[in-house]
């Protein structure tokens, strides 16, 4: 009895080791399965409308004007230096702002912005975003809603 090969004193029983291994394997495969099913639900492709909006030739925006583009959700602002695209998406919870005098106001929670898009009142945490403005092969303006740019970056046209 003293030299029982199965049960050395102080040794961990084989049954416990196998049980722990089994639990570990079950746990790992559960976590992996859960992670995979969450990953499955993250859509890698956007089926919605493109974030690149074609806005027409620059000539249709006069110097010193601000024009709301309905389908794109941006304001095209033109001054003596060049053109900028100011997103109409409120930085609080994503409603579309509307013009209010020189500035903007959000209808959802009342954030207000000045003409440059800086927050003047309300819960908005950040100024309205300026987005990348480029021209396509035919010279038309293209605003990329997915690309934020600095407020002083202008597209210069001649």
């Amino acid at each position: 009895m003293a030299d029982d090969p199965v049960q050395q004193p102080g040794a961990v029983p084989r049954r416990n080791v196998l049980f722990a291994l089994g639990c570990g394997a079950l746990g790992l495969s559960t976590v992996a399965g859960a992670a995979a099913s969450v990953r499955f639900a993250i859509n890698p492709v956007s089926w919605g409308p493109s974030l690149r909006k074609t806005l027409g030739p620059p000539a249709q925006y006069g110097v010193g004007t601000r024009t709301w583009i309905d389908g794109a959700g941006v304001f095209v602002v033109r001054d003596a230096v060049g053109l900028r695209a100011l997103s109409g998406r409120c930085t609080h919870l994503g409603c579309t702002v509307r013009e209010d005098g020189d500035g903007f106001v959000c209808p959802c929670h009342g954030s207000t912005y000045d003409a440059e898009g800086r927050v003047t009142a309300g819960p908005a945490p950040e100024p309205l975003a300026y987005v990348r403005l480029t021209r396509d092969g035919r010279g038309r303006l293209v605003a990329d809603l997915g690309r934020e740019v600095a407020a002083d970056e202008r597209l210069k046209v001649v």
Binding site: V38, A41, I42, N43, S46, W47, G48, P49, L51, D70, G71, A72, G73, G88, H92, L93, G94, C95, T96, V97, R98, D100, V105, C106, P107, C108, H109, G110, G122, P123, P125, G146
Partner: protein, 384 residues
Amino acid sequence: MRAFLQRLWTSLWRIGWPKDDREATRAMVASIALHVHSPKVRPGSLRFRATWALGLVSLVLAALLTATGVYLMFYYIPHPDAAWRTMKDLAFVVPFGPVTRNLHRWAAHAMVVIVTLHMARVFLSGGYKAPREANWVAGVGLWVLTMALSFTGYLLPWDQLAYWAVTVGANMAGAVPGIGGFIKSLLLGDHSVGEPALLRFYVLHCVLLPLLMALIVGFHLFRVRKDGGLVTTEHDPTSDRSLVQGPRLVPAWPHLVYRELIVTILATAVMMALALAFDAPLEPQADPTRTPNPAKAPWYFLGIQELAHWSAFWGGVALPGAVVIGLSLVPYLDRGQVALGRYMPRERRLACWLFLLLMTFFAVTTIIGTYFRGPAWKLMWYPG
């Protein structure tokens, strides 16, 4: 033929119409629909004041919502091009379409109210205390599920109200620190509310959340019996009808079953009357670039919208989250076993007033958000 019909009837209804208490008890146990009940119940739990029938009415509303919801699915198409048009079809073309949609809408609103009142009733009478802690947590879960079902159902008509309420709600989820963007893309399946979001909300609203709710309701009812029935004044040792002197029991048939039948008929009749009298609103079709002014969430979320007006994270995420976690922890923190079954007893004055303060806070913010917020969320002094 007569023998066949007789045989068919007895195969379905084995006991027959009960003629005495013994047969009534056998009937309760033999029927799958009735065996949810205990065959005998304490008379204290039958008194209207013990429950105000709020749990049963919640269940009746859930049944009405399931029935009308399945019917609406016969016509509804979860696609941005078609969803709003099917709402118009239901309103003008489908026979009994308006009353079906109205019933679904008003029952959903009523369920938010009744489930909340049910929670208040249980809290004020100490119904969350041991051994009912787990069932209270299940109840809080059902309350959250009721809200989640309302929110996901809100997008489906694809009108302006729906679109912007869900845009605001999804961005609120996006305000969760660290994982907000992840939750938002999980919910919407895109960068903004569109085709994938509508499909996801549809699946959540019609399959996933109702299934979850049915499972938890099953657990909830099971626990009521396992925890020894409802909390009543009979649990209060100081009461002259205390259980200490031994429980007096009455058969559930007819005492409980008939009361339930009456409540079910009344609740259904009231909802039907509302559905016939008032039409569910439908705004113009969703326009992703034009936000209506003011853009309001459904009324039961206007308290949260009012708070989000101050801060998206604190008002929209942190405070509601803290309320749900706090409510779930209540039975584990407040463990006294006094004055059970009585509403707002002196011994539990602090707990009850804190709860009522919370309810009042949400009621007041909801009323401000509903009636005193006008265009651009500015304060105004008359309902509009």
